[in-house]
């Protein structure tokens, strides 16, 4: 970000620098962690990224980040019923761990605030690159999180739901998760709240050789909240990661996904559903590296945009020279429901191997009027008919998940969203 230093700080930048000075004494961390925090706030002082930074071209953070509330120590969000019945729930309320971790065979849970002080975590706070604004913001302010360690070979049947909830102010958390070789788990990352908060959240997942992980991000912030999130994952040999992302809220949302398919034979699946309403701005930016041979990936993102909402999907697939026989396909389909709705898609492929199959496609459509007429001609009122068609558009992404409880839960969220915004 240094390249684009700007002489005059915005209100938001000034507020962040002041908030850092005010909160520094209460933020956890050993000396090495505090040095990382200091470096991070220095990067923010140099200016948030603008549209001139390629990775932020469609989301000019400097212009769009207008409100930076103070941290509110009295904010008291209430835990939510988990997305999937029978899940083990771990809460982060107003940026700190609340309650005790459940006892679960094969899983170790630790408070991140402890890890920040025990000398083991500073390295994990390094920025990913010079434009890693979410990384900088989170590193400067991170207060707590859950560290989850799943033992090699453990088969964890009950989903683990990590709830990060806000009720205004600022919250900054990290969710490092390590899944051992051959282990299997389903993790739900729940991002929600009730206030006009500035929330940042960084998840780091390491998938061991032969492990099989399903990770769901369910983001339902209120229309007043800013939500800046990052999901980073590295996949070991012959492992499998299915990442499902649902965005259904927020005023300013950026969800970065950075996945490195590092082990031969590994497979990555991304399924995304963005339900965008109001006048919010939602950006999903993925950078996927195929860095080993015989790896595969499929990315399918479906967007429904209404009101004056704007959406962005940037998908970049890098196929390294070593990654022969990579099979990668990416598709982004958008359904626009109003004249003022907007969606920008930017697919990119960078291929250095010569024996690969890669492709991408993008479409933007409106509701098919003849389909709508057909349904209405059978007595289905317009709102219900539109609901059926919108659901049909995104349901195929959800139904692929191959887990009935999960499909039901996500379809219920879809119905709720459409009842409010359809």
């Amino acid at each position: 970000m240094n390249m684009h230093a700007t002489p005059q700080r915005t209100q938001a930048e000034t507020a962040l620098v002041e908030a850092f000075a005010a909160r520094l004494s209460e933020l956890p961390g050993d000396g090495a962690v505090m040095v990382k925090r200091d470096d991070a706030i220095e990067a923010i002082k140099d200016g948030l990224p603008t549209r001139r930074v390629e990775a932020w071209h469609y989301t000019d953070l400097r212009r769009l980040l207008t409100s930076v509330p103070d941290h509110d120590p009295t904010a008291n969000p209430k835990p939510l019923v988990p997305v999937i019945e029978g899940s083990e729930v771990l809460s982060l309320l107003n940026g700190v761990v609340r309650g005790k971790a459940p006892a679960l065979d094969g899983v170790t849970f630790q408070n991140l605030s402890d890890k920040l002080t025990d000398g083991s975590f500073a390295q994990a706070l390094d920025p990913l690159d010079a434009d890693d604004a979410i990384g900088f913001l989170n590193t400067a302010f991170v207060s707590d999180g859950w560290f989850v360690d799943i033992a090699p070979g453990a088969k964890i049947e009950a989903p683990i739901e990590l709830q990060n909830l806000q009720a205004g102010g600022q919250t900054h958390v990290r969710l490092p998760v390590r899944v051992g070789a051959g282990a299997r788990a389903t993790i739900v990352e729940r991002q929600a709240g009730s206030g006009a908060a500035l929330a940042s959240s960084v998840s780091n997942l390491s998938v061991g050789d032969g492990a099989d992980v399903v990770w769901l991000i369910v983001q339902e912030q209120p229309e007043t909240a800013t939500h800046l999130a990052q999901f980073n994952a590295e996949l070991g040999k012959d492992s499998r990661l299915t990442l499902f992302v649902m965005n259904a809220g927020g005023k300013l949302v950026r969800q970065e996904i950075r996945v490195k398919v590092a082990g031969a034979g590994a497979d990555f699946q991304l399924r995304g559903v963005n339900l965008l309403a109001g006048d919010g701005h939602t950006d999903v930016t993925m950078v996927l590296d195929h860095a080993a041979a015989n790896t595969g990936s499929r990315e399918l993102v479906r967007n429904v945009v209404t009101g004056k909402a704007r959406g962005v999907f940037q998908g970049r697939i890098n196929v390294h020279q070593l990654a022969q026989k990579t099979d990668a396909k990416m598709a982004c389909n958008t359904l626009l429901l109003s004249d003022d709705a907007e969606f920008s898609t930017k697919p990119e492929l960078e291929i250095f191997a010569d024996d690969v199959q890669c492709g991408h496609g993008a479409t933007v459509t409106e509701i098919d009027r003849s389909h709508l007429f057909y349904l209405m001609a059978r007595g289905i009122d317009e709102k219900t008919a539109r609901g059926l068609l919108v659901k049909a558009f995104v349901a195929s992404v959800i139904e692929e998940l191959d887990n009935e409880a999960l499909v039901d839960a996500l379809e219920a969220k879809l119905d709720t969203w459409f009842a409010e915004h359809g």
Partner: protein, 251 residues
């Protein structure tokens, strides 16, 4: 039951007038056939009756049981008992046929102030209707009309008609794309629904369908108007002599 008075309708996007002063009366219990050459406005008439907003009514009225339907949207007309069996039923991926049938049936029941059907009752009705049309119930587990053959789509339309039990049934070129066996099954399905309190408007280009669904009245549509009406013998006359004679006679 249906009274169309001096109806004028045009394509909303281009302003091209298709229906140009059409008059037609269909009584309860009557099966009225609408015949006419290509481009005479047959399909447009069916869409205008069902309320498709690609067409604008500029003059005249459509009275159904004495009340104008022009201000009603397609869903309201359907709930009031008007049913259009489409010439080309839409394929709608992602909408399960069974779910669609249930939502449609219960939407109409709700509009009439009736309780939604319980699932076992609903399934029983669907199974009975499917069996009578020799349809494989497995088909209904697929998305709506997706991958159905032309004949299967037409049977699915009649299945919907059976389930929804409308009082005015508009059949738009139901015979197109059907082989003779399928045509018989579909016609039997329609004939079984004939009742004193139900009327049919059977739109067709050919006499063939009318051998199986015998009409009470036949109306010839040309350039958006009914130019001749008669009984079923009029259809035979058309089959033998073509439309040219009648068109000349009217001109």
């Amino acid at each position: 039951m249906l009274e169309i008075r001096n109806l004028h309708a045009r394509i909303a996007s281009t302003g091209t007038e298709i229906i140009r002063g059409l008059n037609l009366t269909v009584k309860a219990g009557e099966v009225a056939a609408i015949m006419g050459p290509n481009g005479s406005g047959k399909s447009t008439l069916s869409y205008v009756l069902a309320g498709r907003d690609d067409y604008e009514v500029t003059e005249g009225d459509i009275l159904y049981n004495g009340h104008s339907v022009l201000e009603m949207d397609p869903a309201e007309r359907a709930a009031a008992g008007i049913f259009l069996a489409f010439q080309y039923p839409m394929e709608i991926p992602g909408v399960a046929t069974m779910e669609f049938l249930k939502v449609a049936l219960n939407a109409q029941r709700k509009a009439r102030g009736e309780e939604p059907l319980k699932v076992p009752d609903f399934l029983k009705r669907v199974k009975e209707a499917a069996a009578s049309l020799e349809m494989d119930i497995a088909m209904l587990k697929r998305p709506l009309n997706v991958g159905f053959s032309g004949g299967e789509k037409k049977r699915a339309e009649i299945l919907q008609m059976k389930l929804l039990a409308p009082s005015l049934c508009v059949l738009d070129e139901t015979d197109s794309g059907l082989d003779i066996d399928a045509l018989k099954i579909v016609a039997d399905g329609v004939n079984a629904l004939r009742a004193p309190d139900r009327a049919f408007l059977v739109i067709t280009h050919y006499q063939r369908l009318l051998e199986h669904i015998v009409p009470d009245t036949v109306h010839v549509l040309y350039r958006g108007q009914v130019i001749k009406s008669g009984d079923k013998t009029l259809a035979h006359e058309l089959e033998a002599n073509g439309y040219a004679g009648i068109i000349e006679e009217a001109a």
